[in-house]
Subunit: 375 residues, 2 copies
């Protein structure tokens, strides 16, 4: 499947600009997006797929035959796959604040004609969803058959259900949470501190020749620990040593897990922007669905939703553990919403939403079949 | 209780030097230690208390009336306390590689008359225990009534039981593990990378005017996340904000958990040496009791031990989770050793060994009574 990225731009005028939750507005907002499959005449087969922290609009297929890797959820999206492109029209757009084509801190600030960097306004998950809603209007779709996503993508799905209830027939928040726990906020804090204290960071005004690579790599290595489960790490790496059989009695990488982290850190700095990383993790920290109710009750917020929910968690996910998905389920049951919940047994930790294709695929396929029937 | 730190130095000659597991030797080894209570004539009431990663020989009492805080385990050690100084003679020594009086990377290398810094040889938990054994000989004690410690202190207690079985009547490894899991190795790796990549680090040759504060602080903040439990963090901090009621939409500390980490990080850089932190965490990574058996079987290693064991874990400790203590218990049962095991219910996470005085105190008190009777 060869796909071409597309761009939609809006907000040239002040009245059309994107109003953000922090109080700022953004002009000239570009959205990078991709589509897979064909929109039917009734426009009833459109599904929005939302990506996670460092993902992109490139969810499936390849941009050219030579591409080494397909999109990030290619195992789930394509002809005959769970998100069957023979039946459905899929849309995936890069989130606001990211560095893969949609407006973010690397974009040019129309007021200064220079990159925003840290002058970019603070964004929220609700702002990301507003941006996607603009794209939806541009595509002339009035109701998504479903909005699906894992991790931060799942937060967007939840946000869609309560901000635009009439625009979503169903949602699939996967491996996600109604609000970040203090432990996750803490990990994000340490990660951002590592980036911001890198001597190359220069308050966000770093140059291409001297990126805050060390800090960003530390941040990414830390994040990767939270994406794997403790049991999964024991299974995959154990205490096995790299290259040699004995301790090297040095501070260089000696255990295989150290080499793994080192590799992940070094790869990341080549593909992601440090400022974008700061903004998106902060948006995640700030995500708290229950805050939309003056009393802070999640059920009062979810009461606005009309969609059917498929909520999926993974047993060994300790970043967004099953109990957090259960909180959504309980709140939905209090407001008598249609909700299907599944905790999938997996050792993959948080990463499971990208790896457990078989189980996840079956759940998604069946849920979509039901949703299609009652759209 | 006013106590005075003491020092014992050995290894002036090559023959008396400390032979390390990495192959190097250390000359002029100083051990800083403190004692509490009185050694009885039979020398049958001596207990060694082993401290954790950033602890010191100052386990109890104060150095002067003006001291703001007592020693790190003062809630457990003193007249009438669990480690009752009216009955027992307690010894606590600063570990090899530390920066609180015992020889470590900040010490003067007798070969160069300069601080070792990164020329300090790599040390292991077994080397720490060998150093304590030298102190034991100096104190003319032949058998500890017990060796007790939490976390890294518990590793030392385990090591004592297998390296010097005749010198320990009982051991109390608390909140510890027979070997570091890859997840803990991973956290240590990220922490050390933060220290070593600080521009002030200068390959360990930093000066007092420009310490690698940022890196060390990041490392410490990360460690603190692993010392608390997720549930404990929710209880203690939740998503509460600092100072104001609303999001500040900035990258500065906004959540209380962020202020807490920031404070812990900033306090630590004033009290601990970065190189010492590297060496001790690496010694923890390398700790793997089962490696002392060619087949890697923990029960074969513990079969060397003759001591009675009191093993204690804490339900919410995810750094050294209960299952790791259970592995020790199972191995001890296989070799038919006397072992008492207790998993204490607590929300304090790994920190519980410093906080659960009541429950822990009762366990220790009763265990010591039994051990005393059959010494």
């Amino acid at each position: 499947m060869i796909v071409k990225p597309q761009t939609y731009t809006f907000g040239e005028s002040e009245s059309d600009a994107l109003k953000l939750r922090c109080g700022s507005t953004l002009r000239n907002v570009s959205i990078e997006f991709e589509t897979y499959g064909t929109l039917n005449e009734a426009k009833s087969n459109a599904i929005l797929v939302c990506h996670a922290l460092t993902g992109s609009a490139h969810a499936a297929g390849k941009h050219s035959e030579d591409d080494r890797k397909p999109g990030w959820w290619d195992s789930m999206i394509g002809p005959g796959k769970a998100f069957d492109t023979d039946k459905y029209f899929l849309v995936c757009s890069n989130i606001l604040g990211s560095c893969y084509g949609t407006t973010g801190p690397t974009s040019i600030n129309p007021d200064t004609n220079k990159p925003y960097n840290l002058d970019f306004p603070m964004i929220t998950v609700a702002d990301m969803v507003d941006t996607q809603h603009r794209l939806m209007q541009h595509l002339e779709i009035t109701k998504w058959l479903s909005v699906a996503g894992g991790s931060l993508g799942g937060m967007q799905a939840l946000q869609w259900a309560v901000t635009y209830p009439d625009a979503v027939h169903s949602v699939m928040p996967i491996a996600t949470t109604p609000m970040l726990s203090p432990q996750s906020i803490a990990f994000d804090w340490v990660g951002r501190e590592a980036v911001m204290s890198d001597s190359n960071f220069k308050n966000g005004e770093y140059t291409k020749d001297a990126l805050p690579e060390t800090g960003l790599s530390i941040s990414r290595m830390l994040a990767h620990i939270t994406y794997l489960s403790e049991a999964g790490m024991r299974e995959k790496f154990g205490r096995r040593l790299q290259e040699m059989d004995e301790y090297n009695f040095e501070f260089t990488h000696n255990f295989q897990i150290e080499s793994y982290l080192r590799y992940q850190g070094s790869q990341f700095v080549n593909r992601f922007d440090a400022n974008a990383y700061l903004y998106i993790t902060r948006a995640m920290d700030y995500f708290n669905l229950s805050m939309e109710d003056p009393e802070g009750k999640l059920e009062n917020v979810l009461d606005k939703a009309t969609a059917s929910f498929l909520i999926i968690s993974f047993s060994s996910d300790w970043l967004f553990p099953p109990y957090q998905s259960m909180e959504i389920v309980k709140a939905l049951m209090k407001c008598r919403r249609e909700v299907t919940y599944c905790e999938i047994e997996s050792d993959y930790g948080h990463d499971a939403f990208l790896l457990e294709d078989d189980t996840l695929g079956d759940m998604v396929r069946n849920f979509l079949k039901t949703q299609e029937a009652c759209y």
